[in-house]
Amino acid sequence: MAVPFSTVDLLQALSAGLLVGSAYALMCIGLGIIFGSMNVINFAQGDFLMLGMYAAFYLTTGFGVLAFLGPYGGPIVAAFLAGPIVFALGWVLHRFIVARVTGAGVSQIAGAGAYGQIIVTLGISLILQNGGLIVFGSTPVGIRTPLSRQSWEIGDVLLNQARVVSFFFAVALAGGMYLFLSHTRLGKGLRAAADNPQAAIYMGIDVDRAHRIAWSVGVGITAVAGGLVATFQTFQPYVGFDFVIVMYAGVVLGGLGSNFGAFWGGLLIGVVQQMSTLILPYQLQNTAIFVVFLLIIFLRPQGMFGRLSERT
C-alpha cells in the first residue's frame, strides 16, 4: 500500500504534535481542574486563554515592560506573568458572577435547569471575545522572538525552537500542578470538594472558597498555556474558540475529573491534530479533532482515566 507521506514527514508531524500538545496538555489541566472540582462546563475557557495570550503580548511588546529580559527570556516570563493576571480576573468573575450559579448552596435554577452555569460562562465568553475585539482589534498578532523563526535539526526532523522551549516550560508547570494537587493540603481540599461537595462541607472544607480557587487557578493555568502558545502562533480575539474544542477533546479523552488524564489527553490531541495534516488538508485539522472528540464521547465517555458512575 502506498503511503502518501514519508517517514520523515511522520516523525516531523509526531514531534510537532508532542511539542504543540504539551501546551494543549497544560490548558487541559486548567480546564480539567475547573470541570473536575466544580462540575461546570466553562465555555469561556478559550477566552481566558486568549486573554493570557494578549497579556503576554502586551507585557513583552506592547509597553516594553519586559524589554530588559531580552527577546529570549521576556516572552517566557510574560507567559508566566499572564497567569496571575488572569487568575485575578477569574477570581473577581467568580466572586460576583459564577459563584451565584454554581457551588453547593445553589440548587437548580428554575428556568434553565442545571444549565444556568453553562449559560453564564457562555455569556462571559461572548463578552470577553467581543470585548477583546473592541480593545485589542481584529488584526492577528504574535509574539515574535528570534526563537520563533529558528529550528533545531535532529536528523531530518526540524524542531521549532520556540515550541521546544515552550514544551519544557509547559511540562514543568504541569508537573508542578500535579504536585500541588496531590501533595498540598489545598490541592487535596480541591479534590475533596470535587468528589463530594456535601461531604466536603461536613468535613469542614469551605467549598465555595475551594471552587473559587479551582476556577481562578484553572483559568490562570490556561492563560499561561496561552502565553506559551503565543510565542509560536499568531492570534486574534476569536482564537479562543479554536482551543475550546481542543481543550474539551483533551479533557474528555483523558477522562473528566482526572487531572492526570487531562495532561495525556491534551498531549494526544496535539498529536492527532498535527498527524491529521499528513492525510487531511490543513483547514480540516480542527475537524479531525471534532471527529475524535465525538468518537470519544460516543465510544468511551469516561475517557482514558476517568470513571463513570450513574445509577438508575
Binding site: I41, I97, R100, V101, I109, A110, G111, A112, G113, A114, Y115, G116, I118, I119, V120, L122, G123, I124, S125, L126, I127, Q129, N130, G131, G132, L133, I134, S138, P237, F241, I245, Y248, V252, P281, Q283, L284, N286, T287, F290, V291, F293, L294, I297, F298, P301, T312
Partner: protein, 599 residues
C-alpha cells in the same frame, strides 16, 4: 396540557401579533433599514422558537443550532449558484435538509445526556464550518436576477421579506402550540422532568426526542434559508458561527424558556438592541453585538432565570388574586369520575399459568456479578414478594425485567412472548407497570398530568387519556389532589400518584419497588389496601420490600435474593422461618421475632 379554550386564546394572540407586525411594517416603519431589522428580528425569532421546541420542552440543550441554520442558508445559496434553483423551491427544501440533518445528528447524539449532549451538539456546526471553508465556499453571493426578480424572491419592497418572515414566525408559533397541546409536548415535558420515569411509563423517549430534533432542525433550516435570501451573502462564519447557536438559546432564555412566546419576546427585545448598537457604534466598537448578548444572558440568569415571560406572568398573577398554579378545569374534577368508568375489569383470578418467566438471567457491572443465574416463574394473579439485604440485586432485577438493563445472559418472557432487550416503553406497552424506589415524579406537572403521561400507552386519543387518568386517580383515592403540582406532594401521595401512573394503562404485571418504604404507619394501611385491590382486579403484583411484617401479611409468595442469587422461595411463613434465611439475611434478631407466630 392546555385546555381548548386556552389554545383558542393563544391562536387569537398569534393573530394579534401578526396584525401588529404588519401594522408596524406598513404603517409605522418608514426606512428600508428598519424593515431589514424587523425581518431579522422575525427570522431570529423563528430560530429561537425552533431551539425552544427541542431544548425548551425536552430539556436537551442544544449549543449547535447553527448547524441547521447554516445548512439552510447554504442550501439556498448553493442551489441558486449551481442549479439556478429559485428560493421559492429551495427554502422549503431547506426544511427537508434540516430534518435529515436532525436525524443524522440525533441518531448518535441522543445516546448522550446532560452536559455531554450539549457539548456534542456544539461540535457539529463548528466541524461543518471548517468543512465549508475547506470546500472553498468562503463567501457566496447570491446572483442578482434582474430579469425575473419575483421568481427568485428578490423584491424591491423590503416589506415583502417582512411578510415572508412573519409567515414563518406564525407557522412556528402554531406548530409550537400544536406540540404543546398534544401528547408530543407532554412526552417532551416528561422527558425533561424525569426521563427514566417517562420511558417506564410507556413513552418511547428516543422517538419523541428524534422527532423534536428533526422538527426543530427543519424549522431552523427554513429560517436560515430565508436569512440567506435576505442578506444575499452567505459565509461560513455568519451562518455556522458560535454567535448563531448562542443567539438561538439566548433569545429563548431571555424571553422565557419553554414558553410559547418567550423566544419571540427575546427576539423583539434583544435583536433590535444589538442591531441598533451595531449600526451606531459598529465602527468604533466592532464586537458590541456579542457584548450585548453576553451581558443580557448573564443578567437574565442572575436576576430572572426563568426569563422575561415567566417573570412578567408571576408579577401579574401576584397582583391579581388568580392562582398561578394551573388549576384543573372546573367540572372535570367535580363530577364523580367513577360513574362513567366501567367497574373493575377483571375478576380476581386464582393462581394461573406463569405470567413472567426468567431463565438463567444474569448481569455484571464491571467485575461485580449483580445478578447470577436467576430462574424465576411468577404465576398470574398472585402477590409476589422479593426480599433481600441491601445490594442483593432486587432493584437490578426490576431494571432487567422492565428493560432499563439488558440481561447478559438470560431470557425473559411475558405471557410466553420474549421481552428480553426491549426498551422500557415497549415493555410497558406489553403490560408491565413499575414504580421506583425513589419516586420518579414529573415534579412541575400536576398530579393529573403525571398520570396522563402514563395513559398515552393505552389511550386512542388525548381525551381518552385524560379520562383514563382520572379513573386511575379515583382508583387510588387521589382524585381530590389531581390539580396539585406533584413537587408539593407528601410521600404517601407521591407513592399513590406513581401507582396510578403505572396502573392507568391496565398492566398485567406491576413491579413495585419499595413502595412502602419511608411511610408512617397510618399511611401504610391506605397503600396496602390499594395493593390488595390491584390483586383483586387480577393484576399480578411483584413487590420489593424491607418492611417484613407488612410483607408477611401481604404477599402469597416470597423469594429471597442475596448477592445476585436466589436463595429461597416459597410461602411467606415457611421462608421466614427458614433458619438459613433468617440467620444469613435477616439477622439473628429475627429468629426470636418469628418464633412468636405472626397471628
Amino acid at each position: 396540557m392546555r385546555t381548548r379554550a386556552e389554545a383558542r386564546r393563544q391562536r387569537w394572540a398569534i393573530l394579534g401579533f401578526a396584525v401588529a407586525i404588519l401594522v408596524l411594517s406598513f404603517v409605522v416603519l418608514k426606512s428600508a433599514y428598519y424593515q431589514l431589522v424587523l425581518t431579522q428580528v422575525l427570522l431570529w425569532a423563528v430560530l429561537s422558537l425552533a431551539w425552544n421546541l427541542l431544548s425548551g420542552y425536552s430539556g436537551y440543550f442544544s449549543f449547535g443550532h447553527a448547524a441547521f441554520w447554516g445548512l439552510g442558508a447554504y442550501t439556498v445559496a448553493l442551489g441558486m449558484l449551481y442549479f439556478d434553483l429559485t428560493p421559492w423551491i429551495s427554502v422549503p427544501f431547506a426544511a427537508l435538509v434540516g430534518a435529515v440533518a436532525g436525524a443524522i445528528i440525533g441518531y448518535p447524539t441522543f445516546r448522550l445526556r446532560g452536559h455531554y449532549f450539549a457539548l456534542a451538539m456544539l461540535a457539529y456546526p463548528l466541524a461543518t464550518l471548517y468543512v465549508f471553508q475547506w470546500l472553498g465556499y468562503q463567501e457566496l453571493a447570491l446572483p442578482m436576477k434582474r430579469e425575473a426578480p419575483l421568481l427568485y424572491m428578490q423584491f424591491e419592497d423590503p416589506r415583502a421579506y417582512v411578510v415572508l418572515a412573519l409567515g414563518l414566525v406564525v407557522a412556528a408559533l402554531l406548530i409550537s402550540l400544536k406540540v404543546e397541546n398534544s401528547r408530543f409536548g407532554m412526552a417532551l415535558l416528561a422527558i425533561k422532568q424525569n426521563e427514566p420515569a417517562a420511558e417506564a411509563a410507556g413513552i418511547n423517549t428516543w422517538r419523541w426526542k428524534m422527532l423534536a430534533l428533526m422538527l426543530s432542525g427543519a424549522i431552523a433550516a427554513i429560517a436560515g434559508g430565508l436569512y440567506g435570501v435576505v442578506l444575499l451573502v452567505v459565509t461560513p462564519e455568519t451562518v455556522f458561527g458560535m454567535l448563531v447557536s448562542a443567539q438561538a438559546l439566548i433569545l429563548a432564555l431571555f424571553g422565557g424558556v419553554g414558553s410559547l412566546w418567550g423566544p419571540v419576546i427575546g427576539a423583539m427585545l434583544l435583536v433590535p438592541l444589538a442591531e441598533g448598537l451595531n449600526a451606531e457604534l459598529g465602527d468604533v466598537l466592532p464586537g458590541i453585538q456579542g457584548v450585548v448578548y453576553g451581558i443580557a444572558i448573564i443578567m437574565i440568569i442572575l436576576w430572572a432565570p426563568e426569563g422575561v415571560y415567566w417573570r412578567a406572568l408571576d408579577r401579574l398573577s401576584r397582583r391579581s388574586p388568580a392562582p398561578h398554579a394551573p388549576e384543573p378545569a372546573a367540572g372535570t374534577i367535580a363530577t364523580p369520575v367513577a360513574a362513567n368508568v366501567a367497574p373493575l375489569p377483571r375478576a380476581p383470578a386464582p393462581l394461573g399459568d406463569d405470567l413472567l418467566v426468567l431463565r438463567d438471567v444474569g448481569i455484571s457491572f464491571g467485575g461485580l456479578r449483580a445478578l447470577d443465574g436467576i430462574d424465576l416463574a411468577i404465576p398470574e394473579g398472585g402477590l409476589y414478594g422479593i426480599i433481600g439485604p441491601n445490594g442483593a440485586g432486587k432493584t437490578t432485577l426490576f431494571n432487567v425485567i422492565n428493560g432499563f438493563l439488558a440481561p447478559d445472559p438470560g431470557a425473559i418472557t411475558l405471557s410466553g412472548e420474549p421481552i428480553t432487550g426491549l426498551r422500557p416503553s415497549q415493555v410497558c406497552r406489553r403490560g408491565v407497570g413499575r414504580t421506583f424506589q425513589v419516586v420518579r415524579a414529573f415534579p412541575r406537572m400536576t398530579v393529573l398530568e403525571n398520570v396522563i403521561v402514563g395513559a398515552f400507552v393505552g389511550a386512542p386519543d388525548d381525551a381518552a387519556a385524560r379520562q383514563m387518568a382520572l379513573a386511575a386517580l379515583d382508583r387510588v383515592g387521589l382524585s381530590a389532589r389531581s390539580g396539585a403540582i406533584a413537587g408539593g406532594l407528601t410521600t404517601r401521595e407521591l407513592r399513590l400518584m406513581e401507582l396510578a401512573r403505572a396502573l392507568v394503562p391496565h398492566p398485567k404485571l406491576m413491579l413495585l419497588d419499595e413502595t412502602l418504604a419511608g411511610l408512617a404507619h397510618d399511611d401504610l394501611d391506605g397503600i396496602l389496601t390499594v395493593i390488595r385491590q390491584l390483586r383483586a382486579d387480577g393484576i399480578t403484583v411483584v413487590i420489593i420490600e424491607h418492611t417484613m411484617q407488612a410483607m408477611v401479611k401481604l404477599v402469597d409468595h416470597f423469594t429471597v435474593l442475596d448477592h445476585g442469587r436466589l436463595i429461597a422461595s416459597g410461602q411467606p411463613n415457611d421462608v421466614v422461618r427458614d433458619p438459613s434465611v433468617i440467620e444469613a439475611y435477616l439477622g439473628k434478631k429475627w429468629v426470636d421475632r418469628v418464633a412468636v407466630p405472626a397471628k
